[in-house]
């Protein structure tokens, strides 16, 4: 049998993504004012976060800004144990870490983001969480470091 060869290449690729007015406005409010903005669909009235230009359900154009709070309710969670490559750093993300789908107060969609807690016994669907912000904001969703359980969160638990 022939010796079998492999040909290896490391490819360094870069991209420059143009965004849009809604992205710029969301980032401006997040970075400069520490506020989260969603866009409301004029037809179904759903508030989208992340904001986008079109409602997938109604195919209507979105233009009405709605302020969304940086607190919300956990709708799904997991503790990740495999070190996937963090696309924002290129490094494996230290494990374990908590992930959740969080419905921010005022939004109809959920946002996937990190949790401060990584013990599954202390997490449950319906618990209330609050964003922990980075001190110096750069204008990305990573300006929220993660979400932490709210004080007295059992009392505030959404049933």
């Amino acid at each position: 049998m022939t010796e079998l060869l492999r040909v290896s290449h490391t490819m360094t690729l870069s991209w420059r993504y143009g965004t849009s007015w809604y992205f710029a406005e969301f980032i401006r409010a997040l970075r400069d004012e520490r506020r989260l903005l969603g866009l409301r669909c004029p037809v179904c009235r759903r508030v989208y976060l992340p904001p986008r230009v079109v409602c997938g359900n109604c195919y209507a154009e979105l233009s009405e800004w709605v302020e969304v709070k940086d607190s919300g309710t956990v709708r799904a969670f997991t503790i990740v144990h495999i070190p996937i490559v963090d696309p924002t750093s290129g490094q494996p993300r230290p494990t374990p870490y908590g992930m959740a789908l969080i419905q921010l107060d005022g939004a109809d969609t959920t946002l996937n983001h990190y949790l401060a807690e990584n013990n599954p016994a202390k997490l449950r669907i319906g618990m209330r969480v609050q964003a922990v912000w980075r001190e110096e904001r750069r204008g990305t969703l990573s300006d929220i470091v993660h979400f932490a359980a709210m004080n007295n969160q059992t009392m505030n638990d959404e049933q």
Partner: protein, 383 residues
């Protein structure tokens, strides 16, 4: 619209790394086997549809570089990529080409060589505006949706593990399957490394090198070429919104699969899928997903999926065997995986599934699942 049937299928042996063949040669291996199964030569093929996730292997325009492995020289060749659904979407596109009457014989080939690329990093290249900042890969995202499904339906880790065990036991009778695990048990699944709560390593699919081909023929050719062709009775595809947070409890509702199945059943006239369908090859990248798909596909009422696996209803000797091939949980070359579902369903109808053949198959179901919520459904029948 013409009636169309699958008249031949071909697969490679799926495995962790196929160093002995290039991608082009891998594709040719599956193609050659499908041509032999159909009893035709490449010169009788009128059009070709390819399926591959190009980003994983970093090869732009794989249809150009690899297409000649599918015999694409001077033929109409197109490529379909819709994530995990790529293979079933390519099968649906190939079916449309044949049913339209424009082509008599259409070849569909899907492949992936995960050993050649950077799949995990490739999968992290999601939407750069939002999603990429908060990515956790396929496993993390599944685990999120599973937490909702478990909370609402009460399925247990043991029930999910039974799905994982069923898949690997079935794979042991399929010589093409990638994972060959002797003595797999529920305990071993639950003892395997935790990837993302509650998903253990053995709850997840592997990454495989492999290719699979399916050949369609329009009615008159199909009848001449094949003693028992697998007739396409329905082919439905549905997409949803892009962000995982847009979806209403993804695995609980799974509205794309629900909608696609409902439409497919209507076309065929199926009212009781569990009773009427003889075998199903469904795209289950993780054990819990198969339980969720049972509900979305109407195999059971909501909340009854755990009972279905507890009662052995979907085992090889059950009322509706699901994934006799071992499924995606045993073999996952992504671009090929959907084609494998259709090829396996067709082989069951044609009576050519070998040691994992289910007796007397007249009606077979194949599904595809991609990214957060894309779904494809095909139904094949003997008559």
């Amino acid at each position: 619209m013409k009636r169309v049937a699958v008249i031949g299928t071909g697969q490679t042996k799926h495995t962790k790394a196929r160093d002995d063949v290039s991608q082009t040669e891998l594709v040719r291996e599956a193609t050659t086997r499908a041509l032999a199964d159909a009893g035709i030569t490449i010169h009788e093929v009128d059009a070709i549809v390819l399926s591959n996730m190009e980003l994983f292997e970093g090869r732009a325009l794989p249809e150009m570089w690899v297409g000649e492995g599918a015999g694409g020289y001077r033929k109409p060749v197109t490529k379909i990529a819709t994530g995990g659904t790529s293979g079933t979407s390519a099968c649906i596109a190939g079916y449309h080409q044949c049913a339209s009457g424009l082509f008599d014989i259409v070849l569909v080939v899907g492949w992936e060589k995960h050993s050649e690329g950077a799949t995990q990093t490739g999968m992290a290249l999601t939407d750069p505006l939002w999603d990429r900042n908060v990515a956790s890969g396929a496993v993390g995202n599944f685990a999120l949706s599973i937490s909702q499904y478990v909370a609402e339906r009460g399925v247990t880790p043991q029930q999910a593990a039974k799905i994982a065990v069923k898949a690997r036991r079935n794979a042991a009778r399929n010589p093409n399957a990638h994972l060959q695990m002797d003595g797999i048990t529920v305990e071993k699944v639950l003892e395997s490394r935790m990837l993302a709560d509650p998903v253990h390593l053995l709850d997840m699919c592997p990454q495989s090198d492999g290719a699979c081909a399916v050949i369609y023929a329009a009615e008159d050719r199909a009848k001449k070429l094949c003693p028992r062709p697998a007739w396409v009775r329905a082919a439905v595809t549905r997409h949803d919104q892009p962000y995982i947070g847009d979806l209403d409890r993804r695995l609980v509702t799974m509205r794309t699969l629900r909608d696609a199945a409902r439409e497919a059943y209507q076309r065929v006239g199926i009212s009781e899928p569990l009773k009427e369908i003889d075998v199903a090859e469904i795209y289950e990248p993780v054990s819990y997903a198969e339980l969720a798909w049972y509900e979305a596909l109407g195999f059971c009422a909501e909340g009854e999926a755990g009972r279905l696996i507890d009662d052995g209803v979907t085992e090889m000797n059950g009322e509706l065997p699901v994934n006799p091939s071992g499924g995606v949980l045993s073999t996952n070359p992504v671009g090929a995986s959907g084609v494998i579902r259709v090829a396996e369903a067709a082989a069951q109808v044609m009576g050519r599934a070998g040691d994992h053949q289910v007796a007397d198959v007249r009606l077979a179901l194949a599904t595809g699942y991609g990214v957060y919520a894309w779904s494809d459904v095909m139904i094949l029948s003997a008559g």
